[in-house]
């Protein structure tokens, strides 16, 4: 029986346990961070993290924030893990406040991903996610994969990555998420469904924006031409076209969050990848909040430095 690789150190003294690799995210280590707070809900992140770790050949670091160092036994008890559940995990205790320590650990280890649940011990009445998760996604530099404990049946069935859903709003700056998303999909051999949701609202002013065609003189030509241009234009984020991953483009109309959720349910998407601009206050991230709140599958937030003023509200 192999026990967990146990380490105990303060955040701020990172140990690189795997060599850096250019894939899937350049400059990041193949290290996945899973924060556990001892709740049953938080543990729902582990199956998803194990899937990602398997396809990305990455190590999983379970982290738990403590006021001061505790013993291994105490640590396992606090995170509600039995010894039989720790196979393949590195378990770290971080000293400090939970969200800050998690984000710092991920940053200092150049982690490729944080996987955590939207619910845990702390209450999150009226909030999209639990406070710790909210703070982590706003401060973490790496992508965050959020898992709703409510979708336990989906989590249980998620043994492979088949379909990845990538909603795009047509602005060139949003293309920053495409490369990482497609590389992630390629790791798991997944197909990518790009979803554009047409809605009414202001047109992004960013030059090069491609929303649905304003003029459809003849649908038999305009739509195929537009779809081809849309995929090609956003394929440039990879520096190559055609795209290396099987990719399909879909168009829906209506409220973006509602349509994304509807699409994900209808097509049994395994992961939804969303562009994330780092602001969770009331005036921002309407789509992200809507999707995270009701997602039938894990949601990966890929952070971009996009200027909010140039974009439609997503």
């Amino acid at each position: 029986m192999t026990g967990p690789a146990r380490r105990s150190r303060r955040a701020g003294s990172p140990a690189i346990i795997t060599p850096r690799d250019a894939s899937p995210w350049s400059g990041r280590t193949r290290l996945i961070v899973v924060p556990l707070d001892g709740s049953t809900e938080a543990k729902d992140a582990l199956p998803v993290a194990r899937l990602v770790a398997r396809i990305a050949r990455a190590a999983i670091h379970v982290v738990h924030a403590v006021d001061q160092s505790v013993t291994e036994e105490d640590l396992l008890r606090r995170i509600n893990l039995r010894r039989g559940e720790t196979h393949g995990l590195v378990i770290d205790q971080l000293v400090g406040t939970a969200a800050g320590a998690i984000a710092r650990f991920a940053r200092e280890t150049c982690a490729m991903l944080i996987v955590m649940t939207t619910r845990g011990k702390t209450a999150y009445q009226g909030r999209t996610v639990r406070p710790v998760a909210e703070e982590v996604i706003q401060t973490a530099a790496c992508p965050v994969l959020l898992v709703r404990p409510e979708i336990d049946r989906k989590i249980a069935s998620l043994t492979e990555l088949h379909r990845l859903l990538l909603p795009l709003d047509g602005a060139p700056s949003s293309a920053a998420v495409i490369g990482p998303a497609l590389e992630f999909a390629a790791l798991g051999g997944a197909e990518v469904d790009i979803l554009y949701v047409a809605t009414h609202g202001p047109r992004p002013s960013e030059p090069g924006t491609l929303t649905a065609p304003v003029y459809v003189d003849q649908p038999q030509y305009e739509w195929p031409s537009w779809a081809r241009e849309f995929v090609a234009r956003f394929g440039t984020s990879l520096g190559s076209y055609p795209l290396p991953t099987p990719t399909r483009l879909f168009v829906r109309r209506g409220d973006p969050a509602t349509e994304i959720l509807r699409f994900a349910s209808e097509h049994d998407s395994d992961v939804i990848v969303l562009e994330w601009r780092g602001r969770m206050d009331a005036a921002h991230a309407k789509v992200v909040k809507g999707v995270v709140t009701g997602a039938p599958c894990p949601v990966m937030l890929l952070r971009t430095a996009r200027d909010d003023d140039q974009a439609t509200e997503t």
């Binding site: 554009y196 009414h200 003029y215 439609t312």
Partner: protein
């Protein structure tokens, strides 16, 4: 003085604009105020700080025009602009690093100590200057603040002082010492200058101000270097030192016009025009600029004939050579509206930009692609009428890419992804039909190469294509190779390539035979070509080497169609150099490779001349290429460019539209006219214009009603032969239209909704939308109004041109066969009215409707004109009538019945409201408020769903409103207004054909607000950079609509049986609208002015004709050639025409 206006006036302040900083600057400030007001830019360049100039000049200029004023202060280290409230804003500043500041001080102090040590004289260092230090070599009270006029005495005093201290070379020695110390201390790119009293060491100089101006004012606004005037007073040397203003002559300003108003006792450098006269002269120069621009607003303008002049904005060797003599009259060159400029590379927009910058001549079109291995690049060349067959139907063939050049430095290809792009510009010179591209590129080794490409497809010789590349290794010498390539890898269908076996000898057995299997592999067919002997023209040291053999590309398209491209290239270089030449090839490409040892700073040139023919031009197009290519070689690239530019100038004479004070619309209307000219071919009656012309692959080159209703009027009134050719295409495809009618159980001719070369229906039956929905496309089955649209085009062309031979031999047959179709298409209802059922009108949101208003009215019109045609033929050309009657088996009685049908056609008009119901039951549909869905980023049928839209009154594009335009005189004014007011808010503008017609009708109804909104919407369809819908090609119908909205709407030009009428309604911001129009072998110049409201008509040539002014043509006169007549509106009424002297 200079004879032409400039768009940017930049000048030194002290000594040029004012005598000194104490002078009252009111006179020059007032003039600059006017220059700014007219829309031009003013850039003040000064060595002093901003407050000094602000106090004297800029603080006293107030208004929105002040945003075009810039003050470049502190000797190149700062730039100030002004906000909308006229407040100064620091918009650029060179910030020295702490190390640079330390070095500057260190250099100045070291010089001071050295000079003091060697001379024993006190030397002072002034440190409190931004990014520079001043070393005062004569810090004595009597020379504390010398005037410029005292510079001679100052120099004497300085030299005497330094020489007395033992520095025999005086000021020069201090200057050289400063340069040396700066070098030793390791400050790169240091600027050392002197005004005699001081030697200054700094990080910037006036050249940085010019550099900033050229990049951030000129380039940003598409202003050519040659439209920039740079003034100073010290260009020439003083005391052996370069004049301070000579620093402004930086490379980026090549082509700008430099003038000096200073005394310049030692002359001026080459390229500077010495005017003298000081600030007084400078003010006169400003007066001239204001006067030139004011005159320009009221002149009829036709493009000058300067085909050889270099294009603005881009560096060329010609520009460099011409810079010294750039001062010459050229009244249009200062208008950026003639150019489309894309001055940086945006990957996402690549395909869109390629479409916008496409060049074409009606026979062949090439997208504005650049060959840099950009990820999204989609280079494509199309030949009109050459299609390929796919499972989804016929597509225009993508021909071999004839325009490709590949550049190699030390065998490393210059590619976008292998280094750093320093400059990237594409420019479309619409006046001359030229595509130009500048690319400065630093490779991984830091080697900077400047490339400048110029491309044309000749309007003078439609089979001639030319591309030239100028190449300059800026900072290195190396082995360079240029490959001039015919690339079949981008082309559709079978492809083969080879080299002619000898000079002008083609292996006939292997070219252009449709029955042969194209050679695409196997043993090479390439033989190494022989390089012709270089020769030096008399009086020139240039090496010119012309390849003797041609490379040839052959492509087989649908059926027996064959395309043949033949190319030869030439290499040019200064001096006598050795160049290697060989033919290179790949699987699907062939090229000529020129390779030589390139020297730093030397410009080399390679010309590629291409001949293209297809099997539509002759049984063996290779023979045609063989005969044609040597004629291109004989003429050479420069002459071909001149001929091409002259052909464009000729077309613009009858096509130019000049708008006073609306740069956006001016550019858009010129852009529209450019692309329309580019896709027309007056000598080919077998092709028409596809929806996206020859600029992109979208719509597959298929021809719709767009041509007759939206584009044809432009050609009818600017170039009738092109209009005639388009209509002859309909005549030649009449058999296909007859077959379609017959197949559907009707008589006569039903034109296909989509057609290609044959005239057969080319509409697809299904399309899968991106939301997965598969929808049936029924336009090919049900959209029948196209037959009436073609007939309308025929009739209007005949009426406007008086081309009786066309009407008699072709047009009449179209009118009769289309009228016959409608007579068979209608059904007599129980109400004793005729109905057209299960139809689609222009509003394609509602399919299979009954009694579409547009279709019924146009059918009615068609029937009447059919009957008129019978009568006209019988009266004027009875022989032709008898022949035609026999041929198509038509009798007078049949035409008589058309009148009956027309008179009893269901119209949908409610006489009580004046409203015309768009189709039966329309008024009972859901009335959805469209404003609740604005703004939106998708067409409304996507937002709401097709079914919901179909159940509503939302329409895709004008149907009844289009009728108001086409049959304006058939409707009472109150009917026009009632219907426009009803349908306009219900139109979702889901078609690019929609905004222009709304602008046109709104102008006719004198609704300036809506006219302006829709005109601008129409103008932005291709030119807005956040729409993304031009990637597949430009929207030619929208362009034709924009021209119609401008001429028929805002100028109010109406075509009458007895002449042309004008009832203008200019946009509020417009001062004038001038344009050319043709009418029955006459050419008119029309100028509509806003204040006072007048219409001037000048008949350039042709017989006298009637013109009218005002609604219903209230004022009439007869105009004669060579004379100008004016109608003026006073107190709301048009007064009688009177002749005016121009």
């Amino acid at each position: 003085m200079l004879g032409r206006p400039f768009k940017i006036i930049a000048f030194d302040w002290d000594g040029t604009a004012v005598v000194d900083r104490q002078e009252d600057a009111t006179p020059v400030r007032e003039r600059l105020d006017r220059v700014l007001e007219r829309g031009d830019y003013v850039v003040v360049i000064t060595g002093t700080n901003f407050p000094n100039v602000d106090r004297q000049l800029s603080s006293r200029i107030v208004g929105p025009h002040k945003q075009r004023l810039f003050v470049c202060a502190n000797r190149g280290s700062e730039v100030y602009g002004f906000d909308a409230d006229s407040r100064p804003v620091l918009i650029w500043k060179r910030v020295a690093t702490p190390r640079e500041n330390r070095l500057l001080t260190g250099i100045a102090e070291a010089v001071r100590q050295t000079v003091e040590r060697r001379t024993g004289l006190p030397i002072r260092v002034i440190r409190n200057r931004l990014n520079r230090r001043k070393i005062d070599v004569i810090p004595v009270p009597e020379w504390a603040n010398p005037a410029k006029s005292e510079i001679g005495a100052l120099l004497t005093a300085v030299e005497r002082r330094l020489a007395g201290g033992g520095l025999s070379a005086g000021l020069h020695e201090v200057f050289d010492l400063t340069v040396q110390v700066a070098r030793e201390k390791g400050l790169p790119d240091v600027r050392v200058t002197t005004d005699v009293k001081h030697v200054e060491v700094g990080l910037t100089d006036k050249g940085d101000s010019i550099d900033w101006m050229m990049r951030h004012v000129a380039a940003a606004h598409g202003i050519a270097a040659r439209d920039v005037l740079i003034g100073g007073d010290e260009f020439g040397p003083i005391a052996g030192f370069e004049g301070s203003d000579a620093r402004m002559m930086v490379p980026v300003a090549h082509g700008a016009v430099f003038v000096s108003v200073g005394p310049e006792p030692n002359g001026v450098p080459s390229g500077v025009l010495h005017l003298g006269g000081g600030p007084t002269c400078f003010r006169s120069l400003l007066d001239e600029q204001v006067a030139l621009r004011q005159r320009g607003h009221t002149d009829f303008r036709s493009p000058p004939d300067h085909p050889g002049s270099p294009s603005p904005g881009l560096w060329t060797p010609e520009v460099e050579a011409a810079s010294a003599q750039a001062v010459r009259p050229d009244p249009l060159s200062s208008e950026p509206g003639w150019f489309l400029l894309e001055d940086h590379y945006q990957p996402a927009r690549e395909r869109e930009v390629e479409s916008l910058f496409a060049i074409a001549n009606g026979y062949v079109g090439t997208r504005g692609s650049v060959h840099e291995h950009a990820p999204l690049a989609e280079p494509a060349t199309f030949v009109a009428g050459i299609y390929t067959q796919r499972s989804s139907g016929q597509d225009l063939v993508v021909a071999p890419d004839w325009a490709e050049f590949r550049i190699f430095v030390e065998d490393e290809e210059v590619r976008l992804d292998r280094g750093e792009t320093r400059e990237h510009r594409r420019l479309l010179d619409m006046r001359r039909g030229l595509f130009e591209h500048t690319w400065r590129f630093a490779d991984a080794a830091g080697r900077v190469t400047r490339l400048w490409f110029r491309r044309l497809v000749s309007l003078a010789d439609r089979h001639a294509l030319v591309e030239t590349v100028f190449l300059t290794p800026e900072n290195y010498s190396a082995r360079i190779a240029v490959e001039s390539v015919l690339d079949g890898s981008v082309a559709d269908a079978a492809f083969a390539h080879y080299v002619a076996e000898g000079p002008n000898q083609y292996p006939a057995s292997s070219l252009g035979r449709s029955s042969e299997t194209p050679r695409t592999g196997g043993p090479t067919l390439i033989e190494v070509g022989k390089v012709g002997e270089g020769h030096e023209p008399p009086g020139s040291a240039t090496t010119i080497v012309q390849s003797e053999r041609s490379i040839v590309a052959v492509q087989h398209a649908v059926g027996d169609a064959v395309l043949v491209f033949g190319a030869r290239s030439a290499f040019r270089a200064p001096g006598s150099i050795d160049v290697d030449h060989r033919v290179v090839e790949g699987d699907r490409w062939v090229g000529e490779r020129w390779e030589w040892d390139a020297e730093i700073g030397v410009t080399y040139r390679v010309d590629k001349l291409v001949s293209v023919y297809t099997s539509r031009d002759g049984a063996n197009p290779s023979d045609l290429v063989e005969a044609h290519l040597p004629t291109l070689v004989a003429r050479g690239a420069d002459r071909l460019i001149e001929e091409h530019a002259a052909a464009w100038a000729d077309r613009w004479k009858s096509a130019s539209v000049e708008i006073g004070a609306d740069d956006d619309i001016q550019r858009a209307i010129r852009f529209a006219a450019y692309h329309l000219i580019a896709v027309s071919n007056p000598v080919d009656e077998r092709v028409s214009i596809g929806a996206r012309g020859l600029s992109g692959a979208a719509y597959k080159g298929h021809v719709f009603w767009d041509t007759e209703i939206y584009m044809l009027p432009y050609f009818t009134h600017t170039h009738p032969p092109s209009a005639r050719a388009l209509l002859m295409y309909r005549y030649r495809t009449l058999p296909g239209a007859r077959q379609k009618a017959q197949a559907l159980g009707f008589r006569g001719a039903l034109y296909p909704w989509e057609s290609t070369d044959s005239g057969d229906e080319a509409s697809p039956s299904w399309v899968v939308l991106p939301d997965g929905e598969m929808i049936r496309i029924v336009t090919g089955d049900l959209e029948h109004h196209i037959s009436a649209d073609v007939a309308y085009g025929v009739w209007q062309y005949w009426r406007a041109t008086g081309d009786d031979s066309f009407f008699r031999e072709a047009g009449a047959e179209i009118l009769l066969e289309t009228a016959r179709f409608w007579a068979s298409r209608v059904r007599l209802g129980d109400d004793n009215y005729y109905h057209i059922e299960k139809i689609i009108g222009p509003d394609e949101y509602h399919e299979s409707v009954d009694d579409d208003a547009y279709t019924n009215a146009m059918a009615c019109w068609n029937l009447k004109r059919g009957a008129d045609t019978v009568q006209t033929l019988r009266e004027r050309w009875p022989d032709r009538w008898r022949a035609l009657a026999d041929q198509i088996e038509i009798a007078v009685e049949e035409a008589d019945g058309w009148h009956t049908v027309a008179e009893k056609m269901h119209t949908g008009l409610d006489p009580t409201t004046g409203l015309i119901e768009q189709f039966r039951g329309y008024f009972h549909l859901d009335d959805i408020d469209l404003s609740a869905y604005e703004p939106r980023t998708a067409p409304i049928d996507l937002i709401l769903g097709r079914e919901r839209v179909a159940r509503s009154q939302i329409i895709k594009q004008p149907d009844v409103v289009l009728l108001m335009h086409l049959l304006w005189d058939s409707f009472a004014p109150e009917v026009r207004i009632a219907n426009f007011r009803y349908y306009e808010p219900r139109c979702a503008h889901g078609s690019s054909l929609s905004p222009s017609i709304h602008a046109l009708v709104a102008a006719g109804l004198r609704d300036q607000t809506l006219a302006e909104r829709y005109l601008r919407q129409s103008a932005e369809i291709d030119l807005a950079n956040n729409m993304g819908n031009a990637a597949g090609g430009v929207h030619l119908a929208a362009m034709g609509g924009l021209w119609q909205a401008t001429i028929f709407g805002l100028a109010g030009m109406r075509r009458r049986n007895d002449g042309l009428a004008f009832d203008p309604c200019l946009l509020p911001s417009w001062r004038s609208l001038g344009f050319a129009a043709q009418w029955r072998n006459r050419v008119l110049q029309v100028l509509v002015s806003a204040e006072p409201p007048t219409v001037d008509v000048r008949l350039e040539r042709g017989e006298p004709m009637s013109v009218f002014a005002g609604e219903n043509g209230a004022r009439r006169t007869m105009v004669e050639a060579g004379r100008t007549y004016r109608a003026e509106r006073k107190d709301g009424l048009w007064r009688a025409w009177r002749e005016v002297v121009r």
